[in-house]
Subunit: 144 residues, 2 copies
Amino acid sequence: MLHKHTSRVSPADVLRAHGFRVTTGRTKLLELLARAGTPLSIQKLHTLLRGTQDQATLYRTLTDLAAAGIVQRADMNTGTAHFEYTPGREHHHHVVCTDCGTVEDIDECALDELEHKITKRAKKFVHISSHNLEFFGQCVGCSR
Amino acid sequence: MLHKHTSRVSPADVLRAHGFRVTTGRTKLLELLARAGTPLSIQKLHTLLRGTQDQATLYRTLTDLAAAGIVQRADMNTGTAHFEYTPGREHHHHVVCTDCGTVEDIDECALDELEHKITKRAKKFVHISSHNLEFFGQCVGCSR
DNA sequence: TCTGTTATTGCAAACTTTTTGCATTAGTAT
DNA sequence: ATACTAATGCAAAAAGTTTGCAATAACAGA
């Protein structure tokens, strides 16, 4: 069995499929994100990549990748943007520890139904395209 | 009938009830937020208060008020924090226009059930204390 | 494989948002 | 009325993100 976060499609293929040039920087970045399987901040990525890539490049790259749907921006109330590798993964959300930042995935998103209901009721909107949802709490380790 | 966003309890009373000093600045701020009935950014608040209050003060005040549960921080993907007056209002979320920022309230939050289910399933968390949820789309005006 | 084109990158600087230190002001309890 | 201390304004710093530009490297076509 494949690892939970291992996609059958390589980062390089994903990049090509979206018309991006396959650079070593992007490949490394996506491999790292795919391996992590959890949202990481620019700062963390910069560190984990050992400064190989400039922060400006990371901002630009991740913005582009997010626009293409290859990564997803997640707001964890930390003041910095986090990004998660999404190819091969189902749409999902997270529980974030307000103390240490630990993240746990939630595999179920029961929002489609609600989203549909809302769309019908909304006065100012005809279509809802996306949503941000994160849960917050104290993880087991931090609650003692 | 009272206006939808008019609370029977005055901002001054709310402040006192939480042990805050009732200053003119805070009173004006809360009255403005209560009247607006929608999340506002610090910059907007600063303008609407005609510069009466320093931005540093607004940041400090709103952080304190949020910690006390008098206002609620809402992240609308604009890069700046927004705050909403909550006393006398039910827990709710929003649909935000990705183009012009127009906000519509969603009166229903069907997340309690999901939150409960998640709490039981979660491995790293015993308790979930809050969640952030915002929907995004194009409003009628912007979709033409 | 070589070559030209152009996306991508690094570096430095600018910009935006938020936080902090400190002296002054203004609420509040007595 | 007075003393105590939270709250505020101002200025500066910190943190996060964006931008301009020259140098580099990926890709398509020969």
